[in-house]
C-alpha cells in the first residue's frame, strides 16, 4: 500500500469540483484522495506549483497488433530516439510509435495517468492486453472495433435486434473492451475484397444492403440502451475528404439525443468539393457540438513533423500511401476489419497540412463547452502525444500562436478563421480538455478530479510562463498514490490497471455466434474469447444493465 501523503501550498485546478486555482491541501491515503490524513503523512510542499488531476487521453493508439506492425515498419524511427532505463524503469525506444514501456513512461513524463487505445479488432484483443501489461504507470482500456463485423452486420440486415444487442455485449465481454468503436462504417468491407470500393455517402447502401447510417444508428441505440459508460466511439465516413463535414453532421444527427462520441473531429470538418483542396467548416461542426450536449468529441489535432497514420480505415491508408509513395502496411483482419499503416510527415508549406492544423485549433478556440471538445492528436496519426505540451501552448498563448502562423501555408490560413481568433485558454480550461472532460466523457467517475474518493492520480507542475515547458516536465506525478515521478525523476515503477466493462448478456447468444465462427474464422470459437488470465490488475466500470 502506498504511503499517506499531504500536498500543501499548491494552486489546485479541479474543474469537476469547481476549484479554479485555489490554494488547498490534497490528501492521499491507500491510493485514493481523502479529506484528511494523519499528521505523520508525507508532506509535499507545492509552493509555486500547479496541481491537476492526472491527464486522461481519450483517444490514442498505443497497443495491439497494428501498433506493433507500425513499430516493425519503422526501425529508423527508433534508432534516433533511444529511451534509456533508470534504476527504477526499463529502457525502450521512442519515435512516433514508442515501445510499450517507453509509451507508459513518456505519458507519465507529461503528467498523463490514463490512456485509451482507440481501435482494437476483437481478434487482436489478446495481443493488446499483453502489451498493456507491459505499458507501465498508466491505467488503460481499449475500444473494440465492431462496426465492420460481418456477423453483426448480418444480424442487422436481418433485423434481429434483440440478438444484435446480445452479440455486442458478448463481444465486449469476450475482449474485455471499454466500449464499441466504429471506423468508416460500411466502408472497409466493400474495399477489402469485392470491388476495391468505399462508401462516400452516409445513406449509400453497400452490397450487403446496409447503409453507414443504419450501422451507426444500430450501435448508438444498442450501446445507449445497455448503458455503457462511454458511448460508441465513431470515426465517421469520408475522413480527410473535402466536403466531409456534411457526413459528420449527418452522423451526429443520426444520434438524435442519444450519446455519441465523434473521434478526431478535425479530420471530419472539411468543406469544399471532393478531389479539390478543402476549406474549413470548423464553425459549422463546433456549432452543432455546442448545441447538442449528447455529443462529445476529441479534436485529433495535427502537429507538424513526423507522424504515423494508423487506422482501421484501410481505403484511407491506401489513398495516403499514394501520396507518400513509401512503405506501408495493409492488413485484412478476418471478418472484423481492415487496417492500414503509413509513415507520414505533416509539413508547414503544404496547403492541406496547414489547413488541418488550423482547423484543429479553430475547433478548440471556437468551442463554447470545453467539457465536450477534448484534446487529442489521435496519437500517432496527427502527431505523437509528446506534442501535447506544444499544443497546450498554442491554445494558451496567442502571441506564440501568431508566431507559428507566420511559418505555415498562408493560402490555407486564408480559408479558415484562425487569424481572427484571439481566445487564450486558461489553466482551468486546459484541466478540462485534458482531464475532467475526457474522464466525464468516459464515465470514469474516479478519474479527472481531486474530490474525495477519486483515484489519487495527480500531476504537479511548476507554474511557468512558457506553458510548453511547464507541461513538458511535471515536478511530481502521483499514480494511485505512488509518487512515480518525484522532483522530476522516476522514483518507482508501477503497472497500472486495465479499465473495462462487463455488460450482461444471455449465454444463448454464443450458440448463434458459434456456427458462423466455425465456417469463417481461422481460429476455434473456444480459443477466441480472452479469458481472465489476461487481466492483470483491472477494474470493471459499471454499465447500466449490470447488477450492482
Amino acid at each position: 500500500m502506498s504511503a499517506a501523503m499531504r500536498i500543501v501550498n499548491g494552486k489546485v485546478y479541479d474543474p469537476a469540483n469547481n476549484i479554479d486555482g485555489e490554494i488547498k491541501d490534497i490528501c492521499i491515503k491507500d491510493g485514493k484522495i481523502v479529506d484528511s490524513v494523519d499528521d505523520d503523512a508525507i508532506v509535499i510542499n507545492a509552493q509555486g506549483m500547479v496541481i491537476m488531476p492526472g491527464g486522461v487521453d481519450i483517444h490514442c493508439h498505443i497497443a495491439g497488433p497494428k501498433v506493433n506492425a507500425a513499430r516493425k515498419l519503422q526501425p529508423e524511427d527508433h534508432r534516433h530516439d533511444v529511451h534509456p532505463g533508470t534504476p527504477f524503469t526499463r529502457s525502450g525506444t521512442g519515435g512516433t510509435v514508442p515501445s510499450t514501456f517507453a509509451t507508459g513512461y513518456r505519458y507519465a513524463t507529461l503528467g498523463y495517468t490514463t490512456a485509451m487505445e482507440a481501435a482494437v479488432t476483437p481478434i487482436g484483443a489478446r495481443h493488446t492486453l499483453e502489451e498493456f501489461h507491459d505499458t507501465p504507470v498508466i491505467d488503460k482500456g481499449f475500444y473494440v472495433l465492431l462496426g465492420e463485423n460481418i456477423f453483426l452486420q448480418n444480424l442487422l440486415r436481418e433485423k434481429r435486434m434483440e440478438e444484435f444487442d446480445q452479440a455486442v455485449a458478448w463481444w465486449v465481454n469476450a475482449t474485455k473492451a471499454y466500449t464499441v468503436k466504429l471506423v468508416n462504417p460500411g466502408g472497409d468491407e466493400p474495399w477489402k475484397g469485392k470491388k476495391n470500393s468505399n462508401v462516400s455517402d452516409i445513406d449509400e447502401k453497400t452490397d450487403e444492403g446496409l447503409s453507414p447510417r443504419e450501422i451507426i444508428e444500430a450501435f448508438i441505440v444498442s450501446v445507449n440502451k445497455q448503458g455503457f459508460p462511454h458511448p460508441p466511439h465513431i470515426h465517421c465516413n469520408n475522413l480527410g475528404h473535402s466536403g466531409n463535414y456534411k457526413t459528420t453532421l449527418e452522423t451526429m444527427k443520426t444520434a438524435g439525443d442519444m450519446r455519441a462520441h465523434i473521434a478526431h473531429i478535425q479530420f471530419h470538418s472539411y468543406g469544399g468539393e471532393l478531389g479539390k483542396n478543402p476549406v474549413s467548416k470548423a464553425a459549422e461542426i463546433v456549432e452543432y457540438v455546442d448545441n447538442h450536449p449528447n455529443i462529445t468529441c476529441d479534436v485529433g489535432q495535427v502537429m507538424f513533423g513526423k507522424s504515423t497514420i494508423m487506422t482501421a480505415d484501410a481505403p484511407l491508408a491506401y489513398v495516403l500511401k499514394g501520396h507518400t509513395k513509401g512503405k506501408w502496411v495493409n492488413a485484412d483482419t478476418e471478418c472484423e476489419s481492415g487496417c492500414g499503416i503509413v509513415p507520414f510527415q505533416y509539413q508547414e508549406h503544404v496547403y492541406m497540412h496547414t489547413l488541418q492544423w488550423a482547423i484543429g485549433l479553430e475547433i478548440f478556440l471556437l468551442s463554447k463547452d470545453p467539457w465536450r471538445v477534448i484534446l487529442s492528436t489521435d496519437h500517432p496519426n496527427g502527431g505523437s502525444f509528446m506534442n501535447y505540451p506544444k499544443l497546450i501552448k498554442l491554445l494558451m498563448d496567442k502571441s506564440f500562436r501568431h508566431e507559428e502562423m507566420k511559418r505555415v501555408n498562408q493560402k490555407a490560413l486564408a480559408n479558415c478563421s484562425l487569424r481572427d481568433l484571439e481566445r487564450e485558454f486558461t489553466l482551468n480550461e486546459i484541466a478540462i480538455i485534458t482531464r475532467a472532460g475526457p474522464a466525464r466523457a468516459l464515465g470514469l467517475s474516479n478519474k479527472g478530479h481531486l474530490g474525495n474518493g477519486a483515484d489519487a492520480d495527480i500531476t504537479i507542475y511548476d507554474e511557468m510562463e512558457d506553458k510548453e515547458m511547464m507541461f513538458n516536465a511535471p515536478r511530481y506525478v502521483i499514480k494511485s498514490g505512488h509518487a512515480i515521478i518525484d522532483n522530476h525523476e522516476f522514483k518507482t515503477d508501477f503497472i497500472g490497471k486495465l479499465l473495462h466493462i462487463s455488460p450482461e448478456y444471455d449465454k444463448k447468444i454464443e450458440e448463434v455466434v458459434q456456427p458462423f465462427f466455425e465456417s469463417y474464422y481461422s481460429i476455434e470459437f473456444s480459443n477466441y474469447a480472452v479469458d481472465d488470465s489476461y487481466l492483470h490488475d483491472h477494474e470493471i466500470i459499471q454499465t447500466g444493465n449490470a447488477k450492482a
Partner: protein, 270 residues
Amino acid sequence: MALKLNLHTQPDVPLEADCISPDKMQSLSKHEIEQLIIFHGNRQVPLKDFFECSGEFDGEINIDGDLSRIKHIGAAMSFGKITISGSVGIHTGAAMTGGEIIVEGDASDWLGPEMYGGKITVKGNAGHMVGSGYRGSTIGMQGGEIIVHGNVKNETGHVMRRGLIVVGGNSGDFTGVNMVAGTIIVLGEMGIRTGAGMKRGSIVCQTKSELLPTFTHSCDYQPLFLQHYFKYLKSIGLAINDSLFNGSFERWCGDSVELNRGEILLYAGK
C-alpha cells in the same frame, strides 16, 4: 605526432568503439582517452582494457592490430583523419560528416552507412552494404566518397542519395538497389539485379552486365563527364584503362518500376 592506438588483446566478442573518433578524442589527455568507455558485448569497459595508447592527438589517429572485430570506428566523426593499418569491423565511419578514414586492409559490412560527408578509402575489400541506408531508412549515403580498391559484396549504395562510391574490383548483387541519386562506379564486374528500384542516379561499370528487364537501352554515347571521374580515379591510384577515356558506353534507363530516371552506363568498347 599522431595519437597511436594498438589493440593489445583480441576481444572474445565484438567491441563497440564509437569513441575512437577525432571528435571524441580531441582535447583529452592520454589518461582520459584510456578511460573512454567501449562496449565489450553488453559490458562497459575502459578503452585501455583493449588498446594501448601513445602519442598525442594532433588531428590524426593511427590504429594498429587486427580490428576486424571492432565496430563503429569513426562513427559520426566530422574532421581529422583515422588510419587503420589492418582490417576493420562493421559500421566503420557510420554517419560520418567529415574527415577521412584510410583502411590498409579489408573493411567488414556496413562501411560508411548513412554518411553525410568526408572520405573513406579501403585498400583491400569491403563487405555488404557499403554506403547504404540502415534497414528501414529511405535515405542512405548523403554525401562524401567511399573508395574501395578491392571487391565489395551485396547492396552497395542501397538507397544512396548523393556522393560517390567507387569499387576497384567486383561488386556483388543489387548494386545501387533503390538508389535515389548519386554515383557508383564499378571497375570490375557487377552481380545481378543492379539498380533494382533505382529512382535517379548513375551506376557506371567497365564490364558488360546482365540487367533487369525493367531497364531499357536508350543509346550508346561517350559521356564527357566520365572523363573527369576517370582522371580523378587514376590520380588516386586506381587502375584505369586508357581506352575508357575515349570509349563509348551503353546507356540503360530505369528502373521503370520507379521513376525511370536512373541510368546504368556499361562500357561498350571502342
